[in-house]
């Protein structure tokens, strides 16, 4: 039997109050924070550990941090990097990563950093879906 809008439980009503995009924005800025906002501590911790580890390993491999969009490939890489939210900002401010890919492992590192950003976007959207009730 489908749940009607008038028969929401107290817990559902409580989670549906406030700014609806908060988990999405928090999850993008800090990996796992979107789930923490919703009280999903285990999921948030696992997501944070996975995404931050992936980003940190990418940096440790001297992966490239994209800073400009001179051609279409760099633009796509920059979009992926921006998915890391504040991690990207911190890496840029501290000058982490490499400007150019010089060794093979640096290319793995570049992929790790870009994919960490894309996974973070997926996690943030998941938090948004939980917030809006599309997912349990």
């Amino acid at each position: 039997m489908a749940t009607t809008p008038n028969k929401l439980t107290a817990a559902q009503k409580e989670t549906r109050q406030g700014f609806v995009y908060l988990p999405l924005i928090a999850g993008w800025l800090v990996p796992g924070a979107g789930h923490f906002v919703l009280g999903k501590w285990v999921r948030g911790t696992l997501l944070a550990v996975s995404i931050i580890s992936m980003f940190a390993l990418g940096i440790a491999m001297q992966g490239k941090i994209y800073s400009g969009a001179h051609d279409i490939l760099e633009m796509l890489g920059l979009v992926g990097d921006l998915g890391n939210g504040l991690l990207y900002v911190v890496a840029r401010v501290l000058g982490l990563g490499a400007d150019q890919v010089m060794v093979t492992t640096a290319d793995y590192g570049r992929a790790f950093i870009v994919v960490a950003g894309l996974l973070n976007v997926i996690a943030a959207v998941d938090a948004h879906n939980i917030r809006t009730g599309r997912k349990a």
Binding site: M54, L57, V125
Partner: protein, 59 residues
């Protein structure tokens, strides 16, 4: 500087991506774990199969 070999990098990539896929693509904890393991096996397995294919093609 961290310098993993290619297969170690594949396993690390598969592990982290599978955790995120498992959590975000399924609803219940049990199904999350099963889907995460499924993704990990597909990531690692496809890397091994493709590696052997490239090895045999290159001979």
């Amino acid at each position: 500087m961290f310098r993993p070999d290619h297969f170690t990098a594949v396993l690390l990539f598969a592990l982290f991506a599978s955790v995120v896929f498992g959590i975000t693509q399924r609803d219940t904890p049990r199904r999350m774990v099963r889907f995460g393991i499924y993704c990990f096996v597909l990531f690692a397995g496809s890397a091994i199969v493709l590696s052997w294919l490239m090895f045999l093609i290159a001979r």
